[in-house]
Amino acid sequence: MTCRERRPLSNNMNSLPDIAREIRKNTIRMLVAAQSGHTAGPLGTADFFAQLYFGGLINFDPKKPQWEERDRVILSCGHYCPVFYTTLAMAGYFPVEELITFRKLGSPLQGHVVHQVPFSGTPHRQLPGVENTGGPLGQGMSLSVGMAIAARMDKRKWKVVCISSDGEQEEGQTWEAYMAAAKYHLGNLTFFIDRNEIQISGNIAEIMPLEPFRLKLEAFGLKVKEIDGHNFEEIKKAYEWGQLFPDQPKAIIMRTTPGKGVSFMENKYEWHGKAPTEEEGKRALMELEK
């Protein structure tokens, strides 16, 4: 089964904006329950995740998470896991009720994404749908390159989608990965980069300027598209456009508003790495209901 054949989640959630709103609400609920975690980036990319898993972009089967032909989704910016976990739960990988165990002892919903090859002594079960261990920035970029090379070696049709953040671009490893992706003509690899202009201690333009970002990516050999990360159609079209270039890796820069949907969180770097209080959570959910 692919997502293209998926039915809507329920009667009142048959459009991508509805699904994205529900993703945001569940994300807020899990962050409030955890009283810990990252808020701004996850809210800012809820539209993207809705499009990715419910808009027909990738092949996956939540009932068979190890299905060989699935596309591999790598969350390199591992701190975005609240929105990722929420999306995976809503897509059917595990019960939505489990989201409130996020960051709690024994939960498979670890503070940053974890994927382990099974061995005795793991303190929690593996979360289906998570393909990489991430958090220390840059690592998922290289891992994606390795997976894309493996797919190429074995002549597989599945693709690799790597989600990255603009702050992550400060890690040198990111650029090592781009060089290798271009060298090996990895047309089966797409980087979606959340360009929300903030990082944990301030605005990116002040901490470490990234512009001219697009030119840098192009200079490293990637096919680049800049889009509005809240426009479902643009996200879809950009990904489909990328498939026209089978010999080049793609980078899709998504301009987003961090904290999107909650007025007192939007564009505030202070919300990068903290969770809402119960009171803030209530206000956020009220705003999202509108």
Binding site: F119, E131, T133, G135, G138, Q139, M141
Partner: protein, 317 residues
């Protein structure tokens, strides 16, 4: 069991890296999942033949060890058995975080080959002499750490690490050193080898210095009766063989081309401290960096050759 060649004191000479390179060609033929990654060091790590034989499975990532670790992890998660080849000062020296997260924590089936380890690399100087790699890798859960004593053992270790499912680090060396283990000698990860039996001192060594240990033990014949253990696997340490020997001798000397802190000596001291407190002397680099020089001259200067070992054991009361 006799692990040694017949004319042990008139040996053929070869670098442990040569044994690795030869084994990789054979391994590539036997197992189509084996993939080699090079950090611009294919010649130094003796990967040229593998690259020629299996170009589709040879990945040159350039001077980018952090990326190499991640690419390796990605390949491993898709069923490949990647061997990451670089100098130990760069991998694991420079990409420890990537190895920690993408390889060890992930428990990915990645094999890390750290070449040119120790002061024995010689002329390149201290920047290129990995003296902390065993410590770095030994601290990581899920990681196995192997340091073969000669080219013959490096071959067997290469084969064995491909068969083991999970992360493995293997330490290799540059200079031509004695091939003193026999082709028929059994090798098993985690199973130490008693190369010479003795009653008064247990000398535990790893890497090509094991040969210096044998020379020293022979030199002390009739003076001090030395038991020589080749602890080719530093993690998991063969505790059983170690304790059995130490119960007999009551004295331990460890020997490695590595800092005395965090390496083989530390591993041995930790086990003995908990299980069988024993007088111990750690030989290695004494919490200091090396320098440029000929490999033989360096080992002599820092007391890690036959002469230095004999002196240390004689003075060890």
């Amino acid at each position: 069991m006799n692990y040694l060649v017949e004319n042990v004191f008139e040996p053929q000479m070869k670098g442990t890296r040569e044994g690795f390179g030869e084994a990789m060609v054979e391994l590539g033929r036997r197992n189509k999942s084996v993939v080699a990654l090079s950090g611009d060091l294919r010649e130094s790590l003796r990967m040229v033949e593998f690259g020629k034989a299996y170009p589709e499975r040879f990945i040159e990532v350039g001077v980018a060890e952090q990326n190499m670790a991640g690419v390796g992890a990605g390949l491993a998660l898709c069923g490949k058995i990647p061997f990451l080849c670089s100098f130990a000062v760069f991998s694991p020296g420079r990409n420890w975080d990537q190895i920690r997260v993408s390889v060890a924590y992930t428990n990915a089936n990645v094999k890390i080959i750290g070449g040119h380890a120790g002061i024995s690399v010689g002329q390149d100087g201290a920047t290129h002499q990995a003296l902390e790699d065993i410590a770095l890798m030994r601290a990581l859960p899920n990681m196995i750490v192997v340091a073969p004593c000669d080219a013959e053992q490096a071959k067997k270790a290469t084969m064995a690490m491909a068969d083991h499912v999970g992360p493995v680090y293997m330490r290799l060396t540059r200079p031509k050193t004695a091939i003193f283990t026999s082709p028929s000698a059994h090798f098993e990860i985690g199973k130490a080898q008693i190369l010479r039996e003795g009653k008064e001192v247990t000398l535990v060594a790893c890497g090509p210095l094991v040969y210096q240990a044998l020379l020293a033990a022979d030199g002390l014949q009739g003076v001090i009766d030395v038991e020589v253990i080749n602890m080719h696997t530093i993690k998991p340490l063969d505790v059983e063989t170690l304790l059995k020997s130490v119960k007999k001798t009551g004295k331990v000397v460890t020997l490695e081309d590595h800092q005395i802190n965090g390496g083989l000596g530390s591993a041995v001291a930790e086990v003995l401290g908990e299980r069988l407190p024993t007088k111990i002397k750690r030989m290695g680099m004494m919490d200091r960096f090396g320098e440029s020089g000929d490999s033989t001259a360096l080992l002599a200067k820092y007391g890690l050759d036959k002469k230095g070992i004999i002196k240390t054991i004689k003075e060890f009361k």
